[in-house]
Amino acid sequence: MSVSDNRNASGWLGSEQRRLLIQEYGIFLAFLILAAVLSVSNEFFLTAGNISNVLLQTSINGVLAIGMTFVILTRGIDLSVGSVVALAGIVSASFVTSSATAGISGAPYPVALGLGIGLLVGIACGAVSGVIVSRFSVPAFVATLGMLSAARGLTLIYGGGRPVPALTPAFRWIGTGNVLGIPAPVVVLAVVFAVSWWILNRTRFGRYIYAVGGNPHAARTSGINVTRIQFVVYVISGGLAGLAGMLLSARTGSALPQAGIAYELDAIAAVVIGGTSLSGGIGRVTGTLIGALIIGVMNNGLDLMGIQSYYQQVLKGALIVGAVMLDQKRNYGA
């Protein structure tokens, strides 16, 4: 059924088209409504400083959620990202700390080395999960649940359970610096988003990800290396979790072993709110970005209005379930 078939005489848009529009762009609408309500109800919401704050506060979850989108598009899930945040954060920090006792010998090393190590740690964690899921056909939920526990344990072993403080100003720049007035983590998020959008929408690899998630058997039959695709998405998610871990430690000024606990839940929430289907094959990275922004804007707005954080949790819960209800309707017919 094509869209034009539904154009009826009664108006500018048929009911079917209106429904499609709401489903496709509902998330943008929801975001705009939320932002409009907050702008009216709080005088500070729409100030440049606050917008910069919201983006800053969204950047870490945004990076994680974009990685999660790749995984969920292939019908997977990555529960380990919060622990990988902590592990990559603490390992990289040990290379760029000026503390005489917390770092490895010879620290601080140049920022590039610290960043490289952090990314490598994330990629390594993702690669392990990826191999277990793609080669050994272990359900992603189980494989990454294992990684969630193992990476947290490794974090505590590596740092002896202690934080790594006194990160060098050069390293902290990625969390606290500015590029033309835009906070550095926001720039990182923008780059991650742009590259991910390009991969998913403009490359063969991106199309394969959708194909694998939509129907793995059909994808295999048509010659796609499903195992490889399934492996790579976990590497991407792990690498981005490593990046997020460094943004976090650079922002707080100290890598903490307890960092990132339950971050996977906010990342999954952003993906789901953004309209990506947990059954794979359907979804947009743009939606994920909006989903992350909705969570960030909501938390910020409620903080500005002095509303207890407990309400934020209730609202977030309602939003997640509501988004999935919309998704079910889209998938299994109206």
Binding site: T101, T176, G253
Partner: protein, 328 residues
Amino acid sequence: MKRLMIALASATALLASSAMAQEKIKIGAAPYGLNAEFMQIWSAALQEHPAVKSGEVELTVFDGRYDALVQQDQFKTMVTQQYNAIIFAPIDVDAGAAAVQTAADAGIPVVGSNTRVNSDLLTSYVGSDDTISGYMEAKTVLDKIGCKGNVVILEGPVGQSAQISRLEGNKKALAECPDVKILEDQTANWSRAEAQTLMENWLTAHPNQINGVIGQNDEMALGAIEAIKAAGLDVKSFAIAGIDGITDALHAVKAGEMTSILQDARAQAQGALDLAIFAAKKGDYKPQSDIWATYKDMPWNDGKEKIYNVPWTPVTAENVDQLLATRK
């Protein structure tokens, strides 16, 4: 392979020799969890106690992993293995009582340390009164802002005993300054990252209005400092306080950015261990830790007290270097 055999053989020999030294007192320590710096300092202090170093006491530390059930199971293990005494820092005031009961049924004395438990079966308790620290930290903030202006409070997880008591102390100090307004008062769950986000948003909602920040622990106070710096404001124009005396906070105190109040994990641990040995030896024991000499306000009193209150120590520019030297 040969090396492995030798290693195994010598390990067996070691085990045998320790079993032969029957006089050793077996003491188990059950902290609620070892992920954070405070409990690590606490456990390390136990290992450094003279009685452990001399081999008089055989100490085992059980990581409670922040789970009341895990702690209960560990108590059962210690009962089965016939420990002579137990040092207990429960995760929960009420859930810990069942564990104490298990030990009491087996006739094993339990000494509380750091966190409280609702049980009258404890031999004694060594800890610090959080109401006092809550009062002290709020007082330093209020003194610095001259008992007028606006403050925000960063609370611990609502319902935890430390949050309840520290808030009580905060409120007591605030009551003495009726002109001070509490602009915001929310939980950041002891977390630096959460506190940073909250403070960023509060600085937006109340531009140039916040004078003081009362953080119920150091982590959250440090998060507030980062938010203030990120907003391009001068940290020193705020009065900021935290509690615990963690290493990062000591550095911030040294930089003149905040005040902190040290909770002496070492004294809580070593004091409890002295009392545990005292109970295991049925009174035939003189305390060996130097903490009893350090804190004149907390006399040993022949081990008879039910509660030993370890005094809080404000971290100041004068003692911060000395405290930092103890952190490795």
